[in-house]
């Protein structure tokens, strides 16, 4: 396999990385299709998992969910390798690259020097593809899905990023396909993937996952003390928006990307109803953007900090999403 790898910018790292790997192995699927087909859309408010002392809010399923979820519908076999020590992890990467392989890697954003300084936080689940090495400098050629062009990364920095410690430590994870992926049976795979998403959003036994999670978050925000602990309240609501934005999907918390998947599904299945549902999801995404805007204005002090108003917006979103996913289930 010595074909030239084609880099395309995506809006999310994991779906973008997999979409790039699949295209390289002869199965061009869009980022949105990869995202929807693996049922990656979600909502989770996890007050126990703290990031810098603030609870985790996620708008999608956990890292590696997309890669794993695609193996069955695409009859894809992925190989995952982690390493006990950095030296062997580096050696293995060089071997694979020398053999002409394009390799997916889990990295920490903080140690990647080409990332903008202000975005370099200790987030350990950033997906990047390695597609070669500069023979003179020894720098790696990386296809980072959220960056416009291919980038170079010095070997010591990449090694550090691959072996960062902490929550979701990558342990040098490398992944690559070992067979040729097949286009799925759309008529079966698409409804199955959508059904799974409706289950995640509507039927979760845990109250903090799915639309119920949005309501839990609303309650937590309502309880913030905007008078005596204004600074903490601002940090808390800022975190909610950061998770919605981070390595952005246009501010809609992955709702737009899922809408793009529904549009593609409408064409593939010849069912216009998914196109209509996509329209509604775009509106919901726009409402998430309005929530983000209202929050940012309060953080900056352009509007007075009123947690109750933000909670009301979240409850309205929870109601709309509940109705949306029920109708999606009906349409299957």
């Amino acid at each position: 396999m010595t074909r030239e790898f084609v880099h395309r910018q995506a809006s999310h790292c994991e779906s973008g990385a997999i979409s790039g790997l699949l295209a390289h192995h002869g199965l061009p699927l869009s980022e949105a299709m990869v995202f929807g087909l693996s049922s990656a859309l979600s909502f989770a408010y996890l007050p126990i998992v703290k990031i810098n002392g603030l609870p985790l809010v996620a708008y999608r399923m956990p890292p590696r969910f997309i890669i794993k979820g695609l193996q069955k519908p695409l009859q894809l076999k992925m190989r995952f390798e982690t390493f006990r020590d950095p030296a062997s992890g580096e050696r293995r990467l060089n071997e694979l690259l020398a053999a002409g392989e394009v390799v997916g890697m889990q990295t920490s954003v903080f140690w990647l020097p080409y990332m903008p300084q202000d975005l370099r936080f200790h987030f350990n689940a950033h997906n990047v593809l390695a597609c070669g090495r500069d023979p003179q400098s020894g720098d790696y050629r990386l296809s980072d899905p959220v960056v416009e062009e291919l980038v170079n990364c010095p070997a010591p920095d990449l090694l550090r990023a691959r072996f960062a410690k902490g929550v979701l430590a990558p342990k040098g994870l490398l992944y690559y396909p070992v067979n040729r992926p097949q286009a799925p049976d759309w008529a079966r795979a698409l409804p199955a993937a959508m059904r799974k998403t409706t289950r995640i959003m509507l039927d979760s036994p845990l109250p903090v996952i799915g639309v119920g999670g949005i309501r839990w978050l609303a309650r937590a925000i309502e309880r913030l003390d905007a008078d005596r602990q204004a600074e903490h309240a601002r940090m808390f609501v800022g975190q909610v928006v950061r998770m919605q934005e981070e390595i952005g999907t246009g501010g809609a918390g992955f709702r737009f990307i899922y809408a793009a998947f529904l549009q593609e599904s409408a064409d593939l299945l010849g069912k216009p109803v998914f196109g209509e549902l996509a329209e509604r999801l775009i509106d919901i995404g726009d409402e998430w953007r309005e929530f983000a805007l209202a929050t940012a204005r309060m953080i900056r002090g352009r509007d007075p900090l009123r947690p109750a108003l933000l909670a009301a917006r979240l409850r309205a979103l929870a109601d709309r999403e509940t109705k949306f996913f029920r109708d999606l289930r009906q349409a299957l």
Binding site: D118, V147, E148, R234, R242
Partner: protein
């Protein structure tokens, strides 16, 4: 979000890079559009960056006053907190907390110094200095 609504006001935290976001074209189809950044995003990213800067600055004052070791300053400078530094070094949190005391930090073994330096991505001899 329509194509013409994609924010292009710029976002200083992107350092001049542009990102790809989904927007609806005139024909109603979603596609990727390049965005120079959204102010909302800049506000919330800056909030997190500023918080670490504030913590680092407060730590610097404590170090100068002899109330804390330089380790605390470097921890926040590298955008870490106590749980994260403990995980990155493989030490218990109570040990790391103890090493934030100037007297304990001054007696730190060379091995532990190396471990902290490695986790923070700096040379061991820089560890006790403030920049």
């Amino acid at each position: 979000m329509r194509d013409d609504e994609v924010p292009q006001e710029g976002n200083a935290t992107l350092g001049g890079q542009r990102k790809a976001v989904y927007a609806r074209a005139a024909d109603g189809r979603l596609h990727l559009v390049s965005s120079a950044g959204w102010e909302v995003e800049e506000i919330v990213t800056r909030q997190a960056v500023d918080e670490f800067q504030k913590l680092a600055e407060a730590a610097r004052q404590r170090v100068l006053a002899g109330e804390s070791s330089a380790l605390e300053f470097h921890m926040y400078r590298m955008r870490m907190d106590l749980p994260l530094l403990a995980q990155a070094t493989g030490l218990w949190q109570w040990r790391v907390r103890r090493h934030l005391r100037p007297a304990v930090f001054a007696r730190l073994s060379a091995g532990l110094r190396c471990r902290y330096a490695e986790a923070l991505g700096m040379a061991p001899e820089q560890l006790e200095r403030l920049p």
